[in-house]
Symmetry: C2
Subunit: 243 residues, 2 copies
Amino acid sequence: MSLESVPPKYAQLVQTLQRRIEAGTYPPGSLLPSENQLIQEFGISRPTVVAALRMLREQGWIDSQQGKGRFVRGRPAMSTVEQPRSGQAYVSSPETSSPGEVLDVGAVTAPNRIAVLLGLKPKSKVFLRRRLLSHEGEPSEIVSIWLPLDLSEGTDLTSAEPLSQGLREHIEARKSVHFDHVLEQIVARMPTSAEATRLGMPKNVPLLVVFASLRDAAGRALAVLDVLLPADRHELEDAYPIS
Amino acid sequence: MSLESVPPKYAQLVQTLQRRIEAGTYPPGSLLPSENQLIQEFGISRPTVVAALRMLREQGWIDSQQGKGRFVRGRPAMSTVEQPRSGQAYVSSPETSSPGEVLDVGAVTAPNRIAVLLGLKPKSKVFLRRRLLSHEGEPSEIVSIWLPLDLSEGTDLTSAEPLSQGLREHIEARKSVHFDHVLEQIVARMPTSAEATRLGMPKNVPLLVVFASLRDAAGRALAVLDVLLPADRHELEDAYPIS
DNA sequence: CTTAGGCACTTGACCTATCAAGCGGGCTTT
DNA sequence: AAAGCCCGCTTGATAGGTCAAGTGCCTAAG
């Protein structure tokens, strides 16, 4: 006897209908079988069918119109081309997974933008952990993590060794906070001499700079990352629906 | 007698619970009243209560845990700080709403990146409509619209006059296509002399360049926009959940 | 003091049922 | 030919109900 659990009936129906859509049984633009037809075919109740259809609508596979029926849209394109957001990888991946060296660690006076993003007074002291990441042996980007001092206490962030947990996991395990979302600002500027040297880049190539403000559900900034990306080696990607 | 329609009961419950959460009646972290308690208080059925609670969970206001209860998260922060995505405004707003002058209109050989983004062969002819937008009387950005030739036929895009419809509305009204989502690429580079002159910017300030590939639900590129943004005057913003 | 079982609570899943409202086609009337 | 009405279909909303599964607390036994 198989130990694997049987998914709920509504979930099985979702999968069946998705397979039929992708197989061309219900091509985009066509009318899906009505609720009554699905009830007959699958021998399940109307609320169960409706739950499955609601899920398909919410995921973008179908549209419904009262009095008319439910129309097939097809597999939502975004789910096939979904991109990791730039901040996401730095928040969740352990430092051990990306080769690099620690450049700076410790309490520093916050640059103005960082203080604003953290919701702190100008010239506040904050904790900084800055690393130079490499890709295929070449310098790739500089990542700085800025934290309010209280949030950095009791963590391993002062270590020169790479963290074996993602930043989020590391902090959530030690502090009573929960990361919820990221607000990003993307700017471009010319590198300083020191940055150009560190990144092994020409002085006349700009930097893409991502400021990622990591926030809890209430919108409070728990940490800020900034990432310096030589523009000749990096581009950012994003995808979103048109509303 | 008021002619306004009464929203469904589940929607009224959603609003009531949202108001109570924001008023502090149910602070974040606290347990929401159980289904039974809500059924008693509001005198409505369990499926109606459950529909309201499911909606709150999907919008991020609450979390549920079987056997335990439903916990308050609070107003989802992203809905309070939602930003228009850069491509969105160009897709939906009429050109008449943003002052500018038409710089180039007509069939041109597609630059390589544009051909790739449109899914065309290298050196294909495409339609280009390029405008210099102003903000408070100053040059602000250059927006180029690139379309396959067949999609531009029968449109007003060849006009030197600004469109009174958004691009999306204009094309969807004339062609059998439906814009669904955008894939964006963000890069930084130095401006050419001509671009710097047109934008009234110094030569040593970089450009943020957004390539927005406007796609249908099947992922086919219908149009590409590129937007040149002097980096000393522009930054891009984004927000996303941490998964 | 620890462990296990039972109970009461919770949400998850599924069922049967009714009525409201929208849509489209066919038929009748003007 | 056009307009209106009716009917049969569709989905939207609501109700009442049962059983499964998860959680936490309390009590009893070891």
